[in-house]
């Protein structure tokens, strides 16, 4: 492994042009992740046609680096503006934004930098050491029933955070699942809910919906606060977390690495579910659950460690099985195909050089997060000093460009602003936008794997429980749902004193 890693490093740093691409990927991923309104997906969509002119290793490496650094960059906007750069940063905003409101933005961003780097480096090391055996294990033990069970568990966790009541949490997730049914059904390819519009046959485009629900709705919320006189300026906090503060969360870091890696390695799941589950597990195991969502450092640490731990792991099913784990890894498949390559087991035998350049680049990209992140954090915090009336049009225009570029359709910009208005109205009524978005993301994956799983077990649902991993995940999901039902049916003891006054700081 070490020899291969050194050979990959030499190939990466031996050619000035490849170094240039690496640096561009690191800075571009961070920048696009950190600019509110656009994300690493926007940058990737713009760069995709240009990769045809690059060497295959350079093209794939560029996207892998953007994936690592962009996942971290999205945390900055989640913490400072309550606008997650990507869905995987949504749980970071739960505690990160309240920390900003309390003048602890430096601590939150500092923790995100360090934990993203730790999660990413740990994931990259495991990826280098064990891609082939892990892929083999996944092939033997993970099938559609397990993936469906994980989706079920993830959605159960998502429904328990972000909404004012458990009912609203479930409605949010179910609405997301419903939106995901628009377009062709994943088994028979039958058009569903296109309402006579041919553009809807491909379903609701993912990027405009995400940008609308997260970025545009946040702008509307800020406008609403200003017009109703309830706007409070965020405080600028420059102090980083101390070593002791971070050391106190070592168990949360290790737990999130394990959760993130497990979610990342499963085909089609990716970093978003990892972040939600990392956060959900932190809440589950904490002695001070009530502090979550009100500015608890552990919330930021758990979410950011888990999503970056999933980045390395998500490359495993892509390279070993040819299955992308999310939107960006799906674009990486396109890069492979542009160069007449197919990701899959044969890549390890046909293009080992490419594999190790990518592995080495991901390792160094995660280290760069630490170095550049710590150096630039204080500069980035000054974004808070920009008056929001000047920031708002920039965010809206960047979001409009980001949603247009993907397919070149003005319809996507309209969808994005419509999603922004719907998101704004839902947030005002106490529904969970992260839950809704996770429902949209996982809806098709869940349905497809449920259908394949049912065909595998000949429509005998009890067969799911004869598979250990599947049964554990389903039981955990049921337990999460039952605890929600219990709380919902015991409302007399569980009503919050915060009754629509917004006194409980938190996120969408």
């Amino acid at each position: 492994m070490l020899e291969n890693f050194l050979a990959g490093s030499q190939a990466l740093f031996g050619d000035p042009f490849t170094i240039g691409i690496f640096v561009f990927g690191v800075l571009g991923g961070m920048l696009f992740g950190a600019i509110p309104g656009v994300s690493m997906l926007t940058l990737a969509a713009i760069l995709l046609p240009f990769t045809a002119n690059l060497e295959p290793a350079q093209g794939v490496m560029l996207f892998a680096v953007i994936y690592c650094t962009g996942t971290y960059g999205g945390a900055i906007t989640a913490i400072l503006f309550n606008i997650p750069g990507a869905p995987e940063n949504a749980p970071t905003a739960f505690d990160g934004y309240p920390m900003t409101q309390q003048g602890k933005s430096g601590k939150a961003v500092g923790a995100a930098v360090l934990c993203s780097a730790i999660g990413g480096v740990a994931s990259a090391l495991v990826m280098m050491a064990a891609t082939e055996p892990l892929a083999q294990w996944a092939i033997r033990n993970i099938g559609p029933p397990e993936i469906f069970a994980l989706v079920f568990f993830g959605l159960a966790v998502a429904s328990s955070v972000g909404a004012r009541t458990v009912w609203k949490g479930w409605i949010s997730v179910l609405l997301g699942l419903m939106i995901a049914t628009i377009g062709q059904d994943p088994v028979g390819g039958i058009n569903r809910y296109n309402f006579g519009f041919s553009d809807l046959a491909a379903g609701i485009a993912f990027v405009p919906a995400i940008l609308g629900f997260f970025a545009v709705s946040e702008i509307f919320v800020q406008a609403d606060k200003r017009t109703s006189g309830q706007f409070k300026s965020p405080k600028l906090g420059m102090s980083f977390p101390t070593i002791f503060e971070l050391w106190a969360h070592k168990i949360a870091v290790v737990r999130s690495i394990l959760v993130g890696f497990f979610c990342g390695i499963l085909p089609g799941i990716g970093a978003t579910l990892a972040a939600f589950m990392g956060y959900g597990e932190a809440v589950r195991w904490s002695r001070n659950r009530k502090e979550f969502g009100k500015g608890k450092l552990e919330g930021v640490i758990s979410s950011e460690t888990a999503n970056n731990a999933a980045t390395g792991a998500a490359i495993i099913p892509l390279l070993a099985l040819g299955l992308p784990g999310g939107a960006l890894t799906a674009m990486m498949v396109a890069v492979f195909q542009m160069h007449d390559l197919e990701p899959g087991p044969l890549v390890f035998y046909n293009s080992p050089d490419l594999i190790w350049v990518v592995f080495a680049a991901m390792f160094y990209a995660n280290l760069s997060i630490l170095v550049i992140g710590l150096l630039e954090t204080k500069t980035i915090l000054y974004l808070l000093k920009i008056p929001f009336p000047f920031l708002a049009p920039m965010i809206l225009l960047l979001a409009a460009i980001g949603s247009y570029i993907g397919r070149g359709l003005v319809l996507d910009v309209v969808v994005m602003f419509a999603a922004g208005i719907i998101g704004f109205l839902l947030r005002r009524s106490g529904y969970s936008i992260p839950g809704l978005v996770l429902g949209i993301i996982l809806g098709k994956i869940g349905e497809q794997n449920f259908a394949q799983g049912m065909q595998m077990v000949h429509y005998d649902l009890l067969e799911y429980f004869s598979r250990p991993i599947c049964s554990i995940l389903i039981l955990l999901g049921i337990l999460t749902l039952l605890s929600g039902v219990y709380k919902a049916l015991k409302p007399s003891r569980s009503l919050s004193s915060a009754n629509w006054t917004g006194s409980s700081a938190g996120q969408k």
Partner: protein, 185 residues
């Protein structure tokens, strides 16, 4: 009506309407799939049934407890509550904020990004409460040039050019300037 307000009744009615409409439209694709017993309607109808249950639960909860949040919920938004009373002027301004991006999106096809965006930037700054004309003009110019520099000059991203003259001509002028700039490098 217990503790239900008019907006909560509307909210509940909206969920029931969504369930009813989507259920009715599901008959439009209710065809069997040879390899899959539950067909194309199985999954959406289960989701709709669960949505109906959740909407009933939500209504019952609101009936008993109004808009009170459950204790122990994590990550609840601190947004301005829907029940806040607003003056007509505040409502008008908020309506403007919601409508302007939508109008901008609808104008992108005929007018194009290059012509519409400076007006959009200025309108949003104005709606967010800035009244100093000099500031609005300077910031509008700055944001416009920054975005053109990043996406047009640096990344060559294709943006909507419009299809109505003279807006289309303006877009063509900007793109010609860009290609001349690229040739200078």
């Amino acid at each position: 009506m217990g503790k239900l307000t008019r907006s909560q009744v509307v909210e509940a009615a909206l969920w029931f309407a969504i369930v009813a409409i989507f259920y009715a439209f599901s008959f439009g694709f209710d065809r069997p799939i040879e390899i899959y017993k539950f067909g194309a309607t199985g999954w959406p109808r289960v989701v709709l049934f669960l949505l109906l249950l959740a909407a009933i639960g939500n209504l019952a909860y609101t009936w008993r407890h109004g808009s009170a949040a459950q204790k122990g919920r994590v990550g609840i938004a601190d947004d301005v509550p829907a029940t806040t009373v607003r003056s007509p002027r505040q409502l008008l301004r908020m309506g403007g904020v919601l409508a302007t991006p939508f109008a901008f999106a609808l104008l992108l096809k005929p007018v194009g990004f290059y012509f519409a965006s400076p007006f959009f930037i200025a309108a949003i700054i104005l709606l967010f409460g800035e009244r100093r004309i000099k500031y609005i003009l300077v910031i509008t110019g700055f944001i416009y040039l920054l975005l053109l520099g990043l996406f047009v000059v640096l990344l060559n991203a294709p943006l909507p050019q419009g299809n109505v003259s003279p807006f289309y001509d303006y877009s063509a002028f900007i793109l010609t300037l860009n290609s001349k700039l690229q040739q200078m490098w």
